[in-house]
């Protein structure tokens, strides 16, 4: 099973530290040394605020990803359990963004990167579970309220096991 980061609206305070953390993790600390417009600020998760919830939304790393299924340019693949986008291959057709039911794929324009014809390069952008970042997903490390967690096969299995035990206990309590 692919792991994924999941936010909890009860714990999230909507501060968006995760969004900056995401950018810093992917752009690298070099951004603090270069021209302020010399890097891209494209967080791969978005804090959504509604009447009821504040919570970041990001890729669920689906087992059968809709984005990957519709990509005709071979830019989306699963690498070490992370559904990832190869920006070099992305033609900006937006199909993946349209396909994702969570809105977890965003189209972004890359500053300073041009297509062969001189037009600005755009790409689909999404969470890659910080697969190239030491220490794993940055968003959950920087979150001040521990509102994000990495759901893995192990802890999800444990969650389900607990639920089943709970259901069993409830049934037993009814019998007695």
């Amino acid at each position: 099973m692919n792991g994924f980061v999941q936010g909890d609206p009860m714990l999230c305070i909507g501060c968006r530290t995760c969004m900056i953390g995401c950018v810093v993790a992917h752009e690298g600390l070099r951004i603090f040394e270069i021209d302020p417009d010399g890097y891209d600020f494209h967080p791969r998760l978005k804090v959504v605020k509604t009447y009821n919830v504040s919570v970041p939304v990001q890729c669920k790393h689906c087992e059968n990803p809709a984005c990957m299924a519709v990509c005709k340019s071979g830019a989306i693949s699963r690498i070490d359990g992370a559904v990832s986008i190869d920006r070099a291959l992305c033609i900006g057709c937006k199909s993946c963004a349209e396909a994702c039911p969570f809105g977890a794929v965003e189209m972004v324009t890359l500053g300073g990167v041009l297509n062969a014809d001189g037009s600005p390069k755009a790409t689909a952008n999404k969470c890659d579970l910080c697969k190239d970042v030491p220490g794993g997903p940055t968003c959950l490390r920087v979150c001040p309220t521990a509102a994000l967690r990495l759901v893995t096969q192990e802890n999800m299995g444990e969650t389900i096991r607990l639920k089943r035990l709970g259901a069993l206990e409830a049934a037993l309590s009814q019998e007695s």
Binding site: Q6, T50, G103
Partner: protein
């Protein structure tokens, strides 16, 4: 605020019946001036050359049309500069097209066809052929029509819509965020200290 990214018409194969009303509407709207096409079939004197292509499989159908890619491969490969992209719309200039077919090959969706090029009801002559010139044809989002894409309007099954992925994303984000309240409520050991 206008979308930063190109809009495109997307189809719902679950709703599409494969009737080709979209193709005819597309053709009609693009040939009123160029080939004096009126409102009835009888006014047509040129081959029907749409810019989207209804594709039918045993169990499903939908029109295939241009996604107006941000880094459009068709545009990238066109040596004649016959394909341009302005305001998010990728457009073919048939006058410049020499029929090299590179764009047809480059487009991963098959959204480009090579079709007869008629003007004023007559084929545009080609050097060595009586049949006239052919040119790349693909969706231009009816950019000249203030009412928007003709295909979207013509579809009897409302299978087509103009998609703004960024606006869609925000809508879907909200739904996903709301869902997380329910999802987390179902996690027994959730955040308890």
């Amino acid at each position: 605020m206008p979308s930063e990214f190109g809009l495109f018409v997307s189809a719902d194969p679950g709703k599409c019946s494969g009737c080709k009303a979209c193709e005819l509407a597309c053709f009609q709207s693009h040939h009123v001036k160029r080939n004096k096409v009126g409102l009835t079939v009888g006014t047509v004197a040129v081959p029907v050359t749409p810019k989207l292509y209804v594709t039918v499989m045993e169990t499903a159908s939908m029109p295939i049309q241009c996604k107006h890619c941000e880094n459009a491969p068709c545009k990238a490969v066109c040596k004649q500069f016959a394909i341009s992209r302005a305001d998010g719309v990728v457009i073919v200039d048939e006058k410049k097209c020499i029929g090299c077919k590179d764009c047809l090959m480059a487009c991963p969706f098959g959204a480009v066809s090579l079709l007869p090029y008629f003007v004023d009801g007559r084929p545009v002559p080609q050097a060595d052929s009586d049949e006239g010139k052919v040119a790349a044809a693909k969706c231009d989002l009816c950019f000249e029509d203030t009412a928007g894409p003709a295909c979207v309007r013509a579809c009897p099954n409302e299978a087509l819509h103009l998609t703004d992925v960024d606006a869609d994303r925000k809508r879907k984000n909200i739904a996903a965020a709301e869902a997380l309240a329910v999802i987390n409520a179902g996690v027994p050991e959730r955040g308890l200290l």
